[in-house]
Symmetry: C2
């Protein structure tokens, strides 16, 4: 990994065209050839970048560029597309290289997966007398998160989201349309369950006869902990 702090300007062309005016920035060149241009603020997203696989070519400035104070020109060309990043470096304030080695990568807990697990274990949160049929119930257009039966034996399809917006309601609607063609299941009712449900999603769901259920993740986790401790 090479770290450069320099006054620079840049141009990107590929899926769009964009330019970065002259300023002091951090340039990171990774071992796989990818390049990041970071400013001293904003989020984790660089101002501009080139994803691997790509090649960095460093060359001399033209006479005209040199007259304007350019000392190096970096050209980063993507291998599989026309994406290209050109950086003009003026004053270089820092330049160092480091051996980092391979990273073992991030290990993370599930979120929606964990929520699904918890709701399956606490299916009575849907209502008294509910029973689980199965998680990831397969359909032609993909698996439904949870299929359950209510106290009267009626089928209930559950779509789970961390944040419930309009897309999730559309998704559940498609599943319901398909499931209701199955005479062994129909009629199938829908439940849209999420930690947070956006107002527009709630309106759309209600309009389509889909019940909305807000889940308290911490409470569900707490119950789960208590139950675990009992055994």
């Amino acid at each position: 990994m090479r770290l450069v702090v320099a006054d620079c300007s840049a141009r990107y062309s590929g899926r769009l065209a964009a330019q970065l005016p002259f300023a002091t920035r951090l340039l990171v060149v990774k071992a796989d050839g990818s390049v990041l241009l970071h400013s001293d603020g904003g989020s984790y997203k660089p101002l501009n970048w080139m994803s691997p696989p790509c090649t960095l070519l460093v060359h001399e400035p033209s006479e005209e560029q040199a007259d304007q104070g350019v000392t190096q020109v970096w050209t980063v060309q993507h291998h599989k597309s026309d994406d290209r990043l050109e950086i003009e470096l003026h004053a270089v304030h820092h330049d160092s290289a480091h051996e980092l080695g391979v990273d073992p990568g991030l290990i993370k807990d599930g979120v929606e997966a964990h929520l699904q697990e918890l709701l399956a274990a606490q299916i009575e949160l849907l209502g008294s007398g509910y029973t689980l049929v199965r998680r990831e119930y397969p359909t032609a257009i993909g698996p439904v998160d949870i299929l359950a039966r209510d106290a009267q034996g009626g089928s209930v399809a559950v779509e789970l989201k961390r944040r419930g917006d309009i897309d999730g309601v559309e998704q559940l609607t498609r599943y319901l349309e398909l499931l209701n063609r199955d005479p062994l299941l129909a009629p199938v009712r829908g439940v849209f369950a999420a930690q947070e449900i956006k107002p527009q999603a709630r309106v759309l769901a209600t309009d389509r006869g889909i019940r909305c259920l807000v889940l308290d993740y911490d409470a569900m986790r707490g119950v789960d902990d208590v139950e675990s401790r009992l055994f």
Copy 2:
């Protein structure tokens, strides 16, 4: 901006819990307090990070940590949530600070906007005898990208995407449902136009009687250039 290359491990807790095993990484501390942990590969996304506003506290390792070779402990706490990032630094290979100043930011050309402009100017791409009614035709749930009329005077609503997937078809479906309630327009047919259309989106569109149209951006731009040169 502070740049540190160090052997480290890290834990994140907040909207999820995650851990980073011991490895050599780049740590970037930005002027706004945000912290990025980068490996020597992958994309522009850091392995882990903390977004601003947040505060970095550097403190001494506990005796137990020191025994394991930890030389510094960084705690990054988000100001408005419980998000927290803890980094244990072992050997520090590099540590430098730099003044970058404020960045003017990225200036970019439009993409979907440009595509819309080009298609409006080359509306005959939809078919012989087509005429433009208007771009951004307003409806109660938002503007339709392009409204046109075919050679027979029938209304046609166009949804434009750079990459056409199922969401775009859903969006156009909602527009068509609404537009077809207007007796002055109905019947309104739909065209789903994109530089690339995903198979599932094509299936769904076709199933709903929506025509799919793949656009050649470069060719459209080329035609535009030629036309510009004529005037």
